[in-house]
């Protein structure tokens, strides 16, 4: 606090003028009972910050059509006066403002302009008022206190504004990617942005501009379908402190980029310009949000394809590219490698789709019948041959395909083959002439076999980026046990770099290609080939757009919960249950609290964080089930987990809770790691353990809560319910031992850290001491058994 110089106060007082503002504007639903007290607000708040040259409106609410007075002081008091506490210091600087009167709604108001004099910055004034009321003691209903601080008009600030409403605390969460049709909301946290508290502001959705473009023109041009919105952020009830600024009518991207880019601007001085004091989501070169159309639908380009026969029978392929390739340049490349008993002409659903979005795609004949090593040889040879034979394939391709942006995707034995191929390139046993391993940005495997997991030529892609597709109803590479070729999830553990996985319940092995015939599936609620392809098209497009185009709107499709970001146009079948998991494994973008790969003690995390818990039956170890899925957690705590196969970095922990009582699993962060303010999210992977008695008993999504507590003991708890679903129920497939429930499926959860700062629970993110996972009826589901892995703070 600082005390203003007397001339400043005098100048201020000379500028004050009483006024009465329309009651319809100032009606306050929570007005006090007349005759008891009166209520004072500055711009509807008890505390405001305003800049020199601006004004605030003081409103005093009490009895109708009554005498009203307002006083200011430089000390907040309170002072005992005549048996009442007056919210003022009653210093010599105490000043009574011109008298006023309440109107028929019981409201009196004063406009309080602040001179455009920088010397006022830092001044604080305290206000108190009274309304004549015969029912009040002494005939006056005293008000609460209110304060005004004159502050420098802040420069334009970058904050997260765009997001969506939640049905539980915190009531709103920031979001970057929206799909066409989804409303876009904006929330302003007046606790964290007190300068806008109580002010009427205009909110614009503008086409994204770079820093240079903003410097060139600061004029706000609203691009929403219904014009800019006006609202008044409050310091109370953040959960309802948001408005819809776009109902979802904008079409999204019409080009080959997935999202149309927008910035969101809160124009605090309502001058139609981005300038000082305004808030922007998309500061500088950043983008506030993206609107994504139906990315499972064909992209903007027509597609040309051809069958190519090279000099050997294993150099045959079907190649797809945008028909207008002559007007495009440097297109990324995706090679598809089929599986055993499959055919290179069975992947039109991927080739046509990706090419329509600006990729060149080749699906080649793959020598899979001998085995996965032969397949890998074919994969390597075809990739090299492709880049060395562009003119022979089609003159249209010459000079148009980028050999530094390559994606590989294989199916079944081809899925394992792509990993082996990458390994050979990595260790240098092959040296292609027309590309380099550094050009391979992503290796993706659809229901890959697992023959070579622990051999001398392992199917590992080392620290390359890896992506895995799992079909829950696969009747070939079925995922039963970790100890044989069907251990499809084992590949995930071998990938040491950025990795992600999509698990499609009800999808059979043959549903991933379009060759017709059986979908090679087993289990309930089976998906048709059409259903599965409707899931594959958008997911594959997002995958390759992320890794090969660095498309900023793509990544969220790899980790956001399916119920939260279900691509438009995918099957509406209730059997289409999909989980996704994504981990960056990148120390430059994440602070890993526990990956369970070191510190084998139950009570110490890999980061050194202390672990304690009241949950039961806790075990830490490799997520490996070497026999069948028969339930026996007493002797086999990782039953029905197939993510490891010995020697892999695939450890995790499992635990149970039940009886309805509140139970926890908690980390105490080491002192040197407690500053997480540079990160955007807290992320973790959780799964329900299939066939466990608690899981069977629950028979539903498993819901829980997460609590962060800082070093001062301030905490905030958020229930996962507010964001969508909990941990998905395992696929209810029988076989592979007794019982029902197929391989346990991890899924990613990422909660924005800002969500823990809402309202008045201002956790200090520079000093986060505890991360507590809370279970039991008070926190979600009454009982369950959970596996946990990869707890970390991440950048968005």
């Amino acid at each position: 606090m600082s005390t203003p110089r007397a001339p400043q106060l005098g100048w201020l007082l000379r500028t004050l003028r009483p006024g009465v503002v329309a009651a319809s504007v100032l009606a306050i639903a929570s007005a006090p009972a007349l005759g008891q007290t009166s209520e004072l607000a500055l711009d509807t708040e008890e505390t405001v910050q305003i800049g020199p040259g601006t004004a605030t409106v003081a409103t005093l609410t009490g009895a109708q059509n009554a005498f009203a007075l307002l006083a200011l002081d430089v000390d907040p008091g309170p002072t005992l006066l005549g048996g009442d506490l007056v919210p003022l210091g009653l210093t010599p600087a105490l000043t009574l403002l011109p008298f006023g009167a309440t109107n028929g709604a019981g409201v009196a108001s004063w406009v309080l302009p602040i001179p455009a004099d920088p010397s006022f910055v830092g001044a604080q004034f305290y206000f108190g008022g009274a309304v004549a009321d015969i029912a009040a003691p002494g005939g006056l209903a005293l008000s609460n206190g209110a304060s005004l601080e004159v502050v420098d008009v802040p420069t334009t600030r970058g904050v997260e504004l765009g997001g969506r409403a939640l049905n539980a605390a915190p009531g709103f969460t920031p979001q970057v990617v929206f799909q066409t049709g989804q409303p876009i909301s904006v929330a302003v946290d007046a606790f964290r942005q007190p300068y806008v508290a109580g002010k009427q502001v205009d909110v614009y959705l503008v086409e994204a501009r770079s820093a240079a473009e903003w410097a060139s023109s600061a004029v706000l041009v609203d691009a929403s379908s219904d014009g800019p919105e006006t609202f008044r952020p409050r310091t109370t009830r953040f959960s309802s402190n948001h408005i819809v600024i776009e109902p979802g009518a904008l079409p999204g991207s019409t080009g080959e980029e997935l999202g149309a880019a927008y910035d969101v601007v809160v124009d605090t001085n309502r001058n139609g310009l981005l300038d000082d004091g305004d808030l922007i989501d998309g500061l500088g070169d950043e983008v506030g949000l993206y609107i994504v159309p139906e990315i499972g639908a064909p992209g903007p380009y027509a597609v040309t394809s051809t069958l190519y026969n090279g000099p050997t029978q294993w150099l045959r392929s079907k190649v797809y590219w945008p028909s207008n390739i002559a007007s495009l340049s440097n297109l990324p490349f995706v090679q598809i490698s089929h599986g055993n008993g499959h055919n290179y002409q069975w992947y039109d659903h991927l080739g046509e789709h990706l090419a329509s979005w600006g990729f060149v795609v080749s699906s080649h004949r793959n020598n899979t019948v001998p085995g996965v090593q032969s397949a890998a040889t074919t994969i390597i040879d075809n990739l090299d041959h492709f880049f060395g034979s562009l003119a022979a394939i089609s003159p249209a391709l010459v000079g148009k395909v980028d050999n530094t942006r390559i994606g590989m995707i294989g199916h079944s034995r081809g899925g394992e083959g792509v990993s082996i191929a990458y390994h050979r390139l990595f260790v240098g046993t092959v040296t292609p002439a027309n590309y380099d391993i550094s050009g391979i940005k992503i290796v993706s495997a659809i229901a890959p076999t697992y023959f070579e997991g622990s051999s001398s030529t392992p199917d590992t892609i080392h620290d390359g980026s890896y992506h895995l597709w799992v079909g829950g109803a696969d009747a070939d590479v079925n995922g039963c046990t970790s100890s044989a070729a069907p251990a499809v999830m084992g590949h995930y553990g071998w990938a040491l770099g950025e990795r992600s996985m999509i698990n499609v319940q009800g999808a059979g092995h043959g549903a991933f290609h379009d060759g017709g015939g059986s979908t090679v599936s087993s289990g309930p609620c089976l998906l048709s080939r059409t259903d599965v392809h409707s899931i594959m098209r958008p997911h594959a497009l997002a995958l390759f757009s992320h890794y090969l185009k660095d498309d900023p709107a793509a990544e969220e499709f790899l980790w956001r919960e399916w119920t939260d970001l279900r691509p438009l146009g995918v099957t509406s079948s209730s059997c289409a249950v999909v989980t996704v998991v994504h981990t960056s494994n990148d120390a430059s973008t994440s602070l890993i609290v526990d990956d369970f790969e070191s510190q084998g003690s139950l009570f110490v995390a890999s980061s050194g964080a202390a672990v304690d818990f009241t949950v039961g039956n806790v075990s830490e170890g490799e997520l490996t089930d070497n026999d069948n899925f028969t339930q026996s957690i007493g002797s086999e705590p990782f039953n029905a987990f197939t993510h490891g196969r010995g020697g892999e970095p695939t450890n995790g922990a499992v635990f149970s809770f039940g009886g309805g009582a509140s139970q926890y699993f908690r980390y105490e962060i080491p002192i040197g790691m407690r500053d997480v303010s540079a990160y955007d999210q807290i992320a973790f992977m959780l799964a329900q353990q299939s066939r466990d008695t608690n899981t069977v008993s629950l028979g539903d999504e498993l819901r829980f809560s997460l609590r962060l507590i800082d070093g001062n003991g301030r905490g905030k708890t958020l229930g996962v319910d507010g964001y969508g679903d909990g941990i998905g129920q395992p696929y209810q497939r029988g076989g592979c031992g007794t019982g029902t429930g197929w391989a346990s499926e991890f899924e990613s959860f990422r909660l924005p850290l800002v969500d823990f700062l809402r309202d008045d629970t201002l956790i200090d993110l520079t000093d986060v001491q505890y991360i507590t996972f809370l279970f039991g009826s008070a926190n979600g589901s009454a009982s369950g058994r959970v596996a946990i892995d990869q707890v970390e703070f991440t950048l968005r």
Binding site: N309, R316, G341, N343, Q345, N367, R413, F451, P486, G515
Partner: protein, 194 residues
């Protein structure tokens, strides 16, 4: 000129197969073999090919294309390991999916292997990836099959076809798939590259 000659020979062979294929299907009077030999087409290759189905990956310049019908075991190609298909002490190269019960195979006359021909004995060994099977394993499997009573099948081979290379062999195999196997038009196109 040589290529034209080989192609012409292949066409002749195809035409002969078209005519005789149905007639050559045996009408067994006794219980058929579990893996029944339907057709044998010996061939030679001007350019040797690689036998990917054995760990040693020997080359071969001759062999037989054989059509086998399963009267029991499922010969459908899978992602996971399935029983390895043998002809004598050699692994057979299955060229089509096989879900119909008919498979078209290459039996290579590899330089490092014991002499075999398309009469068999045909049998299924332990589940494994063929590329992991060594010659020693193949011989052991063969010995075991003989102990279990596996026998050759007296099916006369067609006249030997001289082919240029593996591509021509693939095309000839496509003809056999087209004639003997139902529901594998895509396999035929892939073998022909069309």
């Amino acid at each position: 000129m040589q290529r034209f000659t080989v192609a012409a020979l292949a066409l002749v062979a195809s035409a002969a197969l078209a005519t005789l294929a149905v007639a050559l299907r045996p009408t067994p009077t006794a219980a058929p073999a579990t893996l029944e030999v339907i057709e044998r087409v010996p061939f030679s290759l001007a350019s040797p090919a690689t036998h990917w189905f054995r760990a040693e990956q020997p080359s071969f310049a001759a062999g037989e294309l054989v059509v086998v019908r399963s009267n029991g075991p499922d010969l459908t190609l899978m992602g996971v390991a399935t029983p390895v298909l043998y002809c004598g002490a050699e692994t057979a190269q299955q060229l089509n999916i096989g879900s119909s019960g008919y498979v078209v195979c290459v039996v290579p006359f590899a330089a490092d292997a014991d002499r075999v021909d398309g009469s068999g004995p045909w049998f299924l060994g332990a589940p494994e990836l063929p590329e992991r099977v060594t010659l020693a394993t193949a011989r052991a499997e063969y010995a075991g099959a003989l102990d279990r009573g596996a026998r050759r099948q007296p099916v006369e081979p067609r006249a030997r076809v001289e082919l240029a290379d593996e591509i021509a062999l693939s095309a000839l195999a496509a003809d056999l798939v087209e004639r003997f196997v139902e529901g594998e038009a895509d396999t035929v196109r892939a073998l022909r590259g069309e």
